[in-house]
Symmetry: C2
Subunit: 674 residues, 2 copies
Amino acid sequence: MFCSARFANCILLAVLFVVAVLPVTAQEKNPVSIMPAPAHVTQGEGEFFIDGSFSITSEGYDEPRLARARQRFMDILHKETGIPFKRAAVVNQSHFIIQTAGPSAPVQRLGEDESYHLEISTTDVRLRAPNPLGVLRGLQTFLQLVRINEKGFSVPAVTIDDAPRFPWRGLLIDSGHRFVPIPVIKRNLDGMEAMKLNVFHWRFADDQGFHIESRKFPLLQERASDGLYYSQAEVREIIEYARDRGIRVVPEFDMPCHAKSWFKGYPDLSAGTDPLQSSAMDPTRESTYTFLASFTGEMSALFPDLYFHTGGDECDAKEWETNPRIHEYMQVHSIKDGAALQIMFTNTIERIVTRHRKIMEGWDEVLQPDTPKDVVIQSWRGPSSLAEAARNGYGVVLSSGYYIDLNQSAAEHYLVDPLGGDAAALTPEQSKHVLGGEATMWTDIVSADNLDNRIWPRTAAIAERLWSPEEIKDVDGMYQRLATVSQKLEYYGPRHRLITEEMLERMSGDPDPDALRVLAAVVQPPRMYERQDLRTFNESTALNRLDDAVPPESDTAREFDGIAQRISSGTATPQDWQQARSWLLLWRDNDAKLQPLLKRSFLTVDLAPVSSNLRHVAEIGLQALDDLHENHPVSAELRQANIDFLKSAAKPQAVLLLMPASSVERLVQATKAN
Amino acid sequence: MFCSARFANCILLAVLFVVAVLPVTAQEKNPVSIMPAPAHVTQGEGEFFIDGSFSITSEGYDEPRLARARQRFMDILHKETGIPFKRAAVVNQSHFIIQTAGPSAPVQRLGEDESYHLEISTTDVRLRAPNPLGVLRGLQTFLQLVRINEKGFSVPAVTIDDAPRFPWRGLLIDSGHRFVPIPVIKRNLDGMEAMKLNVFHWRFADDQGFHIESRKFPLLQERASDGLYYSQAEVREIIEYARDRGIRVVPEFDMPCHAKSWFKGYPDLSAGTDPLQSSAMDPTRESTYTFLASFTGEMSALFPDLYFHTGGDECDAKEWETNPRIHEYMQVHSIKDGAALQIMFTNTIERIVTRHRKIMEGWDEVLQPDTPKDVVIQSWRGPSSLAEAARNGYGVVLSSGYYIDLNQSAAEHYLVDPLGGDAAALTPEQSKHVLGGEATMWTDIVSADNLDNRIWPRTAAIAERLWSPEEIKDVDGMYQRLATVSQKLEYYGPRHRLITEEMLERMSGDPDPDALRVLAAVVQPPRMYERQDLRTFNESTALNRLDDAVPPESDTAREFDGIAQRISSGTATPQDWQQARSWLLLWRDNDAKLQPLLKRSFLTVDLAPVSSNLRHVAEIGLQALDDLHENHPVSAELRQANIDFLKSAAKPQAVLLLMPASSVERLVQATKAN
């Protein structure tokens, strides 16, 4: 592809090129089957082969972080290929040269340059970047390009000019509801690096627990962590680990609500007449602010990032209004309601945070008429609150639409654009206040055990939305690349696919639970908040059931649904018909094998009706395939009975959605009644 | 089972009971489906359930190592169940009580008491042991007993009195040929703990590399490790990690041969006129001994274990005899040949080792008429050399028969008894010198990438041979338990099953390589030293091919062969016939799916004939099944042609053995020619 001097056009052409090429094909033929899709790709001819002589050298600026990044790169390249590379590169014999112009900020800053230029020919690789952040991004691009073919391990000849669309691309991990062990944090930071995410939003406390060491107020962790908390040394280790990967760490201490755990050690902070019956802090006592000023001082010294998240979400005004002492204070000070009381609290906290030379970040609720303009708003309520914040000149980070704990599809998240919806009407100047977005991994219904399978691979779709040009939004192309990325992610750290397999083995007590896998491949946990309605979750719930184990999105079911759509609209290929039949046969015949096994374990016994429903759905589907294929009219009553059954089978059972039911309904709906 | 006061009889009965019960059934029905099988089991009634209220408490002697062991136990129990146990146990509410009588030795000693008594009722668990080592063993027994059933996670009510048969139960990991990273060492120590092994024999150098830090002689690692060596801090960490698991660490520094790597930094040690062309040290120079005395001093201070292994194997006398200077020395000192020169060397080294208050251990070759009686001999040459050493009063450790790098079956290793073969003729007094055995994980044809899949699960069979009563040797029962243990081992640390899966994905470039898995499940790497004849291995060989990926022993092929034996001998069940047919159909039809995929990757392209052979083998097998089932005579020529083909298909191809070929030959041989 030729690129003229008119650079903007060139980028546009490149983007269109990428969009056009990506959906067509799998990794083999597509030179840039990676996520997030780069901003600007020029395909070359041929490929660069990786063998035992491969090594990298660095030119220009260098630092220990870059040396570690090179070693990590070589270690992953070894995982990807199995080649035992020599560590001591022979001088002047390396064909991969990294040129770094200069250093990045000592503490990574919002909006720092992350661009890079990667040029791969059949003989050489050059990676150029203005600073180490761009080098980190470019190395990840190269690793994702590695593939195997009939000649060896290689990367395609290609030139990539890449830079992010948004400067704030985050993942929240909630260590408040449940403790998340350090190794789990680390491997998810590895996944973030691979997906070019750059903010780890780390939340430490909620009503359920307080999971970080305070030296000033040790009763916080001693009384409310069951011994599971991050020492300050561990926190520093994670900050360093994240910095090595070009990731900022923004801590969150949610106040004044979601704060029950604080009161186990420090009951005077509580707004409740019985301290442990309240989730809210008391905003009326001077001692509350003395405590929080001291605590904020300690924590803002521990976390070097400029931003400090103080939460502020979901206060229940009644917590204050029903306490006579607080009620009296409000009357005396002419504070009309709980919301006004929270404004007073927020403003005081903002002054404390500012005093410690930090910028406050908070959830939607902290945005009030007189909130200082440098506060950053994290928007969880929806597009209108984001647009309103930006219109008012506040920096804003979108999380509404990126709640990965709610088991939505990658496509749904993918199509949420921080500048879409109400934000589409913002002026260019206002749009600049939209800093990016954050996927939120809440742990009220997820634990460290299955965290990876909720974060990955779907968060790659969000990462692409935040990094790649706005125009890249073809869903089919995204899913094709996501399949490749999902496998590669396990080279980088996350264990999302392994976790599912291990949990199936555990719940069945079977080292090779074939029949259970067939069922597991086509069920999903219910979406949004419906799962909580069907099952009780608290911090002592064992998350070891099938709705915990399966990924939030079934690839098989999605592919089957695509086929069902094509069959019912008359656009199916012969391969579609064949694949549909082969899946339906598999599902129909699986039940007889699975039923006796389900009885053996208390964690699978209630799956019996789900499995028999799958059989019945498949039987109806096979009949519908025949009817459609032969254009055979069917009895109106039978057709209606089948539709009724399929609608009921599509409803949650054993806290699971049987996904093929609605796809088979498409098929039946496409048949003709006689 | 009732146990009388005649304790010896009771043990005997229990042993017979175990032997009788084990083969019958899978984990579900068998209360002690664990490895190594305990010495003495009394089955109770009912089971003990594990739920969120489960906790353990300690009575009697306690120490930090025991506290860590309890936490590790709870962490694995969490992995086994997914239950989020409380860390802070409520006093007096625990139903698992550990009673430890007293401490063990500060540095773990050969022959320390490792016995324990585990008593599980439906309401309580008691683990009693004389010292922490027994507690460690008993905790592992409990973890292996955990299973899932229709009522929950539980362990069976049972009373176990257990102690090892041999005091030296080891695994050698060879970090000489190739460096093995610390995390790989650690997870295999976890596996050793689970299998109650108690000696980690750690070999650091060979011709190919020198992989441990010497501070006195830093050029050793600087010149011969490519930067990959264990720092002394890491070594101490591993020693501590092993001690926590009741495992001694015996270091080996092989001398005077296999020593080429030493000469890169210190050429004067070499016996060669060109130092780097020789593998042998020069035993004639005083400076050699000065160096080795100093080096041994440094290393014997680093490793607290009483035993210090100085190798001594496989010297080539020509290395000395062809060097004129050494030749002259031998003439002057009336040393008749290289063997005599090695004796002189060994005796000098033994004095050095003794001076540092260590006991020398060496391979077979160090045993000479005047070798001091406290030297321990590691026998690799075979049963006669072991018996000879024991007869002469030397402590001896068996490794012949336990070479797990040579891809023998678990059954073969299992049936090698340190007191079998020539050693069966030893007197009881002489037998006491037989200390146990060691599995040897040499890395000349294995790397850290596939190490786990060579060690596990087969080493569990060796661990059982060394721990369990001699009478427990039913191979079918062992294999049944091994299947359970193999899955459980991944809870404990080793990644043997995952490694195979990851390597299949990598070599195919396919996230779900179904058809390749079918082929992979029935091939094995060639056995003994044949693999080295078929493929070149050196330290830069990428071990990423199918013969690296598949386990040394195919479970599917072994089970199919059992069925083929029963069919050809007329003892098959209807299930046998059905299973045989179903496998043969799978194999026959797999080739058409697999062939187009194999072409896509340079690592799979040469598997095409193996896959088509499997198809052909299966076709012949299906025909033979029909012929046998209908008692149908077949053409003599066709029968002979099939036998000829099957014999040739059983030979290695693409460095792989196609295991079903010989089983199908059994079927064809059972048909009648007309």
